[in-house]
Amino acid sequence: MMQSNLPAPSQLPARIVVEDLNAYFGGAHALHHITAQIPDKKLTAIIGPSGCGKSTFLRCLNRMHELVAGARVSGRVVMDDIDIYDKRVDPVRLRRRVGMVFQKPNPFPTMSIRENVLAGLTLNGIRPKDADAIVQHTLERVALWTEVKDKLHNSGTSLSGGQQQRLCIARVLAVQPSVILLDEPCSALDPIATARIEELFAELKNEYTLVMVTHNMQQAARVSDYTAFFYMGDLVELDTTQRIFTNPKVSKTEEYVTGRFG
């Protein structure tokens, strides 16, 4: 639910500080001079019409953007006093701290449910002794344990879409990130599965900083504490969700959230 008594985002301890961030695809300038503070242990929604740069922004936060051929980034993204675009930062290590959940549930089809939960650890060469406990705890965390505890060795793709997405969230939680990026995590799910995932986010934000791209404004209004509105590669406004939806400072924001375009 929308909280009415939240302070402005700049008044909270920031988890991510973005300074003059520019992103390019070849010659196309996709993000223009973005400066923002993303508060710690809150859910920040990113809204805006298609092609406004919201997914690009998200992908700049775990350095996935630069994987596209010809893609380039300038500016600073600071987490824990470290600019993640510093030459000394290994993007592979960074991505273990900044998890990501995708639009389409993508459990590894050749792995079992159990292996999927442990995939992040396996990939990083970790073979935990208490693997069973990690699997159970993580699956409980995403409210999937009771549903799958008897078929942990079945394929991850045997689950329903909502279950698969919760499995993907479990896979991210298992590597213990501090930030979780959510790229339209419910857009492939039905309303009931969506509601369950949203409940999960409400719980997770007590421990993690969540940044969620969504094209569903009702969802942003329902689950987020803060909302950033992107338009044509610019960050138009970042404020408490309540203010963005009821009393935004910029008229463009109001036009968008009231459905006059987008």
């Binding site: 996935m64 051929a69 592979v92 590894f108 089809p109 990939l123 991210v172 590597v175």
Partner: protein
């Protein structure tokens, strides 16, 4: 003549355009036969039936031609090591041995190279290089095998005889497979030339299989903090495994049937020897070499039975490969289909 326009219907307003035409019954305007389409349909259908019929006819012909040999030698044909047309002794084992060993050895040499090439082309290669490199690796497959054989005789055999075989004998001479006289031609030469010939086949199919793995799989691994190698190892290769196996089997298939290049470098002596330096023979080469000069019926029949064996092996291998490759495509199609479905909502 009154037509369907003002037939039984009661409340219809005056029908704007009736199907009926003057001077025809009510089906008139809706009837038609498209002769061009029919002829096209049956002509193309005939071609399709030809494709089905040809292998069957070949099989029947081969069985008929092999009858003399089958009744004369029975199953012993498969295990007899003597091949002497003068004394009318015919055993296929040296040829089976030569074909199987040279092909498997070729796989052993070609698979690591092909997989490396496929992984590089599909996962690691800069986009600009991807096309030209892929083109050149496929170009290798287009070179006629007699050209490979020619190159083999004039370049590879002297190199094997003067450098590779002496070196192998010096360092690994304690192994029976690297003993004997360094002649150049022989089992090792055949395996090497086959390996070179099947690399493009295995590499290009494997690359296609790897490309068919959806990018969502790669992103899932990368976002979990996987390095490029870990992404390939844990997210891409497991999905492509059976398709790559199919590519390998198609490569093996090509090696088993290859005639010209092999016969030019293998030495053509029907002897089973432990050493890879020794000359050998293959099923395809013996047919190509002896059929024209074979005068006795039993000789022709024995060669025909070898052809039948080769045909059977190739058929089984091909079916197996197809089954394996289709497995990956099915799985990938499932994933891409569900992506499309969901994003189109």
């Amino acid at each position: 003549m009154k037509t369907a326009a003002n037939a039984p219907s009661t409340v219809d307003p005056p029908a704007p355009a009736s199907f009926a035409e003057k001077g025809r019954d009510k089906w008139g305007a809706l009837q038609g036969v498209h002769w061009g389409d029919k002829i096209f349909h049956y002509t193309t259908g005939t071609f399709a039936i030809l494709v089905l019929a040809l292998p069957l006819l070949m099989m029947v012909m081969l069985i008929a031609a092999s009858r003399l040999s089958i009744t004369n030698f029975g199953p012993a044909f498969l295990v007899d090591t003597q091949w002497d047309p003068v004394r009318e002794e015919f055993g296929a084992l040296p040829f089976i041995f030569g074909t199987v060993v040279s092909s498997l050895l070729a796989l052993l040499l070609a698979v690591p190279v092909s997989l490396g090439l496929a992984i590089f082309l599909s996962e690691l290669c800069p986009k600009k290089l991807r096309k030209p490199l892929g083109f050149f690796s496929e170009l290798l497959a287009a070179i006629p095998s007699v050209v490979y054989g020619f190159w083999g005789i004039f370049v590879m055999l002297p190199w094997l005889r003067d450098s590779v075989q002496p070196a192998l004998a010096r360092w690994f001479g304690f192994l029976p497979i690297f003993q004997g006289q360094a002649l150049g031609f022989g089992m090792l030469a055949a395996a090497m030339i086959l390996a070179i010939m099947i690399v493009p086949t295995i590499a290009s199919i494997s690359r296609d299989v790897l490309r068919a793995v959806p990018d969502t799989e790669r992103e899932a691994a990368i976002a979990l903090g996987a390095t490029p190698w870990e992404t390939i190892r844990h997210a891409v290769l497991p999905m492509a495994k059976s398709g790559i196996l199919g590519a390998v089997i198609l490569g093996l298939n090509r090696a088993l049937g290859e005639t010209m290049a092999v016969t030019m470098v293998i030495g053509n002596r029907p002897k089973i020897s432990a050493s890879l330096f020794d000359p050998s023979h293959s099923m395809a080469s013996v047919i190509a070499n002896e059929l024209i000069e074979a005068e006795k019926d039993i000789h022709v029949s024995s060669l025909s039975q070898i052809a039948l064996l080769l045909f059977g092996v190739a058929l089984v291998m091909n079916l197996g490969a197809r089954w394996l490759v289709s497995g990956v495509k099915r799985r990938a199609a499932k994933i891409t289909a569900s992506v499309k479905l969901e994003t189109s909502k």
